[in-house]
Symmetry: D2
Subunit: 501 residues, 4 copies
Amino acid sequence: FSLWCFLSLIQFADQKQEFNKRPTKISRRSLSRSISQSSTDSYSSAASYTDSSDDETSPRDKQQKNSKGNADFCIKNIKQADFGRREIEIAEQEMPALMALRKRAQGEKPLAGAKIVGCTHITAQTAVLMETLSALGAQCRWAACNIYSTQNEVAAALAEGGFSVFAWKGESEDDFWWCIDRCVNVEGWQPNMILDDGGDLTHWIYKKYPNMFKKIKGIVEESVTGVHRLYQLSKAGKLCVPAMNVNDSVTKQKFDNLYCCRESILDGLKRTTDVMFGGKQVVVCGYGEVGKGCCAALKAMGSIVYVTEIDPICALQACMDGFRLVKLNEVIRQVDIVITCTGNKNVVVREYMDRMKNGCIVCNMGHSNTEIDVASLRTPELTWERVRSQVDHVIWPDGKRIVLLAEGRLLNLSCSTVPTFVLSITATTQALALIELYNAPEGRYKQDVYLLPKKMDEYVASLHLPTFDAHLTELSDEQAKYLGLNKNGPFKPNYYRSAAA
Amino acid sequence: FSLWCFLSLIQFADQKQEFNKRPTKISRRSLSRSISQSSTDSYSSAASYTDSSDDETSPRDKQQKNSKGNADFCIKNIKQADFGRREIEIAEQEMPALMALRKRAQGEKPLAGAKIVGCTHITAQTAVLMETLSALGAQCRWAACNIYSTQNEVAAALAEGGFSVFAWKGESEDDFWWCIDRCVNVEGWQPNMILDDGGDLTHWIYKKYPNMFKKIKGIVEESVTGVHRLYQLSKAGKLCVPAMNVNDSVTKQKFDNLYCCRESILDGLKRTTDVMFGGKQVVVCGYGEVGKGCCAALKAMGSIVYVTEIDPICALQACMDGFRLVKLNEVIRQVDIVITCTGNKNVVVREYMDRMKNGCIVCNMGHSNTEIDVASLRTPELTWERVRSQVDHVIWPDGKRIVLLAEGRLLNLSCSTVPTFVLSITATTQALALIELYNAPEGRYKQDVYLLPKKMDEYVASLHLPTFDAHLTELSDEQAKYLGLNKNGPFKPNYYRSAAA
Amino acid sequence: FSLWCFLSLIQFADQKQEFNKRPTKISRRSLSRSISQSSTDSYSSAASYTDSSDDETSPRDKQQKNSKGNADFCIKNIKQADFGRREIEIAEQEMPALMALRKRAQGEKPLAGAKIVGCTHITAQTAVLMETLSALGAQCRWAACNIYSTQNEVAAALAEGGFSVFAWKGESEDDFWWCIDRCVNVEGWQPNMILDDGGDLTHWIYKKYPNMFKKIKGIVEESVTGVHRLYQLSKAGKLCVPAMNVNDSVTKQKFDNLYCCRESILDGLKRTTDVMFGGKQVVVCGYGEVGKGCCAALKAMGSIVYVTEIDPICALQACMDGFRLVKLNEVIRQVDIVITCTGNKNVVVREYMDRMKNGCIVCNMGHSNTEIDVASLRTPELTWERVRSQVDHVIWPDGKRIVLLAEGRLLNLSCSTVPTFVLSITATTQALALIELYNAPEGRYKQDVYLLPKKMDEYVASLHLPTFDAHLTELSDEQAKYLGLNKNGPFKPNYYRSAAA
Amino acid sequence: FSLWCFLSLIQFADQKQEFNKRPTKISRRSLSRSISQSSTDSYSSAASYTDSSDDETSPRDKQQKNSKGNADFCIKNIKQADFGRREIEIAEQEMPALMALRKRAQGEKPLAGAKIVGCTHITAQTAVLMETLSALGAQCRWAACNIYSTQNEVAAALAEGGFSVFAWKGESEDDFWWCIDRCVNVEGWQPNMILDDGGDLTHWIYKKYPNMFKKIKGIVEESVTGVHRLYQLSKAGKLCVPAMNVNDSVTKQKFDNLYCCRESILDGLKRTTDVMFGGKQVVVCGYGEVGKGCCAALKAMGSIVYVTEIDPICALQACMDGFRLVKLNEVIRQVDIVITCTGNKNVVVREYMDRMKNGCIVCNMGHSNTEIDVASLRTPELTWERVRSQVDHVIWPDGKRIVLLAEGRLLNLSCSTVPTFVLSITATTQALALIELYNAPEGRYKQDVYLLPKKMDEYVASLHLPTFDAHLTELSDEQAKYLGLNKNGPFKPNYYRSAAA
């Protein structure tokens, strides 16, 4: 741990306010974000069977012990472990890549000696990841990156299985930081790897235990917000270990955005409104990967889709894909559904909502909850009526209603579920990034933010092909030579990226 | 009421058992069916806010009165009327055709003098229909055609509005017939029109009050089962009033099957299993309208779809639409999802389920609950595990699980919702059929089963076009003459039908 | 041949003018029609290698003999026989159903004793049909139904093979009737079956050799126009033999219209204009099967498609399929391509063409050449410029050009080709219809126009399934009983029809 | 012109053989390539009306003069100028971006003083580009980059318009280099910009007139091959002026590959074989942009499509898009059509062709003519039969035929046409690259190969939006600040690239 690094952290602490501010430029959406904004977002988990009616004692005040007498955890209720175990087993079936990694790990343990501290959503899928890391040789301590998203029964199963988990559904903000602290501030154990989702864990260590970075080999960060924070640190010369940005790997991006949203836009709209898509006029704001997914799905269901864009290249793509490119004001009076996918702010403002027709559905699939100016609807002349969970009717004085979903937060997180397969992509990417950073020869990675090497990105993809009974073709020696490629990849240059976000 | 008709009923009563037997040939699916089989099917209503925890007193034992002192109804709880009214108002917004009929009825009352007894699902959409019939001049008395499907709050709103409604959610079979009886067996009021869904009401009158048919101008029947019963009666020479089969109108068929199922297959699968469609291998049994809808939707979501068919014409269509036509045993080991849409029985039998792969999802979108041989799974060596509402894991001794949805009942009724717009098509068709039969000049309709006249079918469609801001082109006089058509339709011959079921 | 029949023909002759008038109501399009209108339509045959530059002597003036000395034919040039034979062999590979029929015929000859006189397009595909009929036991004499469509080399191969063929490319109208006459007016041979396409052959026999009908067992007619004439005859009580309308069989309809046009609209537009479809705004007039095919194809290529309709049921389907339903005048200024598929007349009139934008492409996929009012463009102020075969620029005084394809005739016949597979469906239908009529027990068919029995329609489809390696599922005895069906079909009622035309 | 640069060229000349060798690694396909390989490829030009039967005198031996007495050109026939002018005018209508550039150039002349020597296909679209460059202030001299692709009438129109054009259809290789030399080796005129397509012009100057580079401000190169040569030069330290790689701009890539091939695969197959796509089984080798376009189009037409891939990321995309990922040998026996889009060599080898079924169509949409091992079919036991232009039947001893298109060369160049709109994208990109290089401040570009700046790429796209009546949304100041973007772009980082090739 260099002096420079130490000094930089002092400055860093001074600049904490800036650190917590909204990112000023974020070009991609994420499924997660930091406490400052979204660690408190509600996050629906379809598979959560947690009974909210159980006892009110704070987990922090309970004596807890698993069946083997281990007490190094803090969760809601250890008795839910069996139920959580089944959830984990079900998730395992849709996370073939991690299971394959476990199998390969029977011979060698690439994470032997790794002490990983993690801060992510705690769900059945995360449990599969943690148990895989463990099978690969790592020790893990874990906290939740969101105060609402923990599946208590899964946390119980993990605790029962011997993991030091500190998380429950409905933490206070104080609980949140307490849990993180319990993960890192422990006698006789010091992490050498960080797996973060939102940057709060990294931030806490920077702030409280900067010396810990001496032993840390690297950070793996999964969220837009967290990655942004890391780039800020790097730019400011304050990043003192290598960091891997797994958010921007090609495979993960495609699944988080195009493939996931193609399905979740339909799911989210149906679950909340039971709307029929056929014949509906829809405007989709933004034709990045998320917008492309939404447009393709709705077109396939018989909707008439209009697109708005600011980038002429994406705009031209929308044209070639058969969507009329309009300005929002040209169609706002006639559309039945408005969907934002821009990553921008104030895309749908009050002026537009004033002109929408009765019954118009308004929702957000984009990066953050700023795309629809929901605040502008909180005025005395408008009446809000909650008609279902996540569905509000906002009623104008003349009786016109618009149907606002999830109060402008992300529809696919609030009103739909993220398929396990998508989470499998993410978790596998995280696991490989940890392995890469942990095993990289000295000097390969500097104190900077890196993208997952192309070859590992390809490896994530290849581990998921068996799910589809998909058979990859191998290059012959002659072909590999002709193309100037190694037979095992990488098959594309590092700069190769997925399509427009 | 002819002697012949009376006599026929005697025979009819003798053949009751046969009457209650499963139809021996049914070529189209329906959203409803009779008590003998499906009046007891569970029917999910997403908009139902009925609190199942309220008091246990049977509605039949309660004193009930609406705010105007009227007591001629029997429902769960009149206090829910306000809530039900809002549900009705929301439904009105998506039933533009009925609202348009109401408006046109301000001048003339085509149902003036009509006394309609109805037996249908009692939902917000039915309420819009009933209030439209009333606005057109009719008096109505109503019972439920299914013991589970009544929205209690809507029944309350109807009772508060002065309708004689006899229905609640969770009727016993005895309640079911009691409610129907209360609709028809009333001092000083005798129905002259029947609106039935499943044939139970018609059956009851035939059995108990055959004399009532003297005054009845016609029956409008909406279900496959009910229509089948009517054709049986007609064939046996026992139908003593004209009946209109509204189930088979072109517009209704397209919406009930193709358009509705195209959306509900995705919705039903997502809500129950959160499965990701992309890359999944799916086999769809049957390529009628329902199968076509399912295939189109899944293909659009990136699934690889196989089709089985018995009819070479439908089979060839599947080929031309890009689906591999297979026998079930050719793909049963490899598919991730099996969907039945045949109207047939024992399409997916135990032998196939024994060979499915671990995690395979099995569900039914077809006519009845016979397509999957669920009974064959109720054997000692298999374990059933209910993992969510409507989702069972059936577990083989070797640990293999298949995921059975809705216990083989209709997925789209059990695990999805029928969009109001689809119900609007049905309700409008029913209203026009009632008007047609009630106003038809003597002799136009004999004691037979009729399809809705082409022109009225077209009228149903035209009343729904404004929803889409769709503008119909009118024929010029010259063009009409050239085509040999009336400018106002019908535009197709009566025999013209929708595509393969 | 009854007296009544004879008398009726006298009246018939008097009404000849009416007979030759345009049909007043035609609800479906066809690939062929009568001399009065379309026997003179140009018909592109991609596979035609006929050298138009060869000798100018009329075939009628030539001495012709095949290698076996047979001279009972009249064609362009017997020397082209080898070339024609190869064309036929290639066609055989894509007409598996006829080849399968030939194989089955090795045991029995269902057409033994049949003497068939035919009048159809004479192409390689027709040759496969004729040789199949011959293999099934029939004797054939054949003329062309269109003065341009004969493939001379195929006619040569047929003549060389012993068929009495009377046809060449570029017949005069006098030649046309002379050829037909040579087919029927022959010493010692009298037809007992008629295979017609357009009704000209039937008309000729009615007019010239009414006595011939005494021995004729039936007429098989393939075209809209011909079928219309037969219905007129039947209505007037003048049809004196059974006739089979093969134009309206379900399988044929689907292929002629939906499946064929889905491909040929793209092909026809590309070959003539090289237009890029992506992003283009297109209006399709008419949403019958042809319109549905055009819309689906263009939507898939990234065009933005608008639809016009007069029938509210088809209109509603367009909405549900995701097309904006407009009146032509709403979009005429903005569209890049206008396609007519209505079967109507004067759908695109001068007023609309005056308002089209520069470069707008106008073409017709509908029934006849009346849909675009091409005559209205033949005015002095407009300049016509032929830029390619089948492509005219019509230039307004201000320099605006519209691109008119095939002078408003059928684009898919003029500028594209009909795939052999589609022709195979038609030819197989014709063959089965001939077999059915020839073998039907006395009395099954009266002097009326019949549709091909459902079961034979299904048989046509089933004969084509092996092409796609498609495997049909067979009903079990139990299932057949449950459905009330014969295990071998028919699987749908006779009234069952394909979707909207 | 530095001494270093001069010296490097000496070495360069020595390495000429290497220079002419096939590129060893090419990851993207192009529409053009060098004389060594593809300057001699046949290139179909649908709009070419050149009469191949006219006089046989070499243009080099003719006295030629345009109507103004100018003789500084060498073409086929100056009399065809009027006809060529009309072709150019028609092309202008589909090249709105260049026309817009001309308009903007009325005020300023960004190419004033530019002396551009060009070597490209000489077509109507190139003429629009040349006349635009001229309108922007440049002087141009031009040769053809392919010995077959020149539209003689267009060359005539250019010569008549005063351009020094040296090109005709059917040049010998000696003619080819002579024409290039005439462009550069001219008294009193020295080029300061190069626009090349394939690198032959650049190569010629390097070889013959290295001193010329002293005055040259930059090279704009359009082809894969030419770009590859430039990168080789750069790597070897021998590139002595800045070069702009316009082949890899995002907009151009999308159009050349995804959008263009989506349409041309259908067009190319139809024009050559009239195959019906519905129900056909197709295997597409390679799921880059070209493969994606082919797969999407064929799927939309009802084909059943299989995909082979070597790259797991592209493979996973194929799965998610609904295509079965196979190895070629798994499906080779059953498919009806095989399409290569890999950029690789020997993808379809004799062993596979031996196992194809009768009638299987084989074609190549990929980078070069190496993907299908056509040489392996030139063996004595196989018979080749040319059935149409670009269509060969290769016949096995047992009679099996495969249908080989364009002898394995690029189907879309040989058997289809490239839409003017796609060429407009390319030409606009070229024009902007010339402007950028010509006007760049000293030092912005070094002696290296550059991609077109993101902002100019976006500008190319924006110039094409009006064609689609597409309306771009502008960022508000507040939004631009939020996103950290300039309101006028660039909207994406420079590293942002289009999807997989």
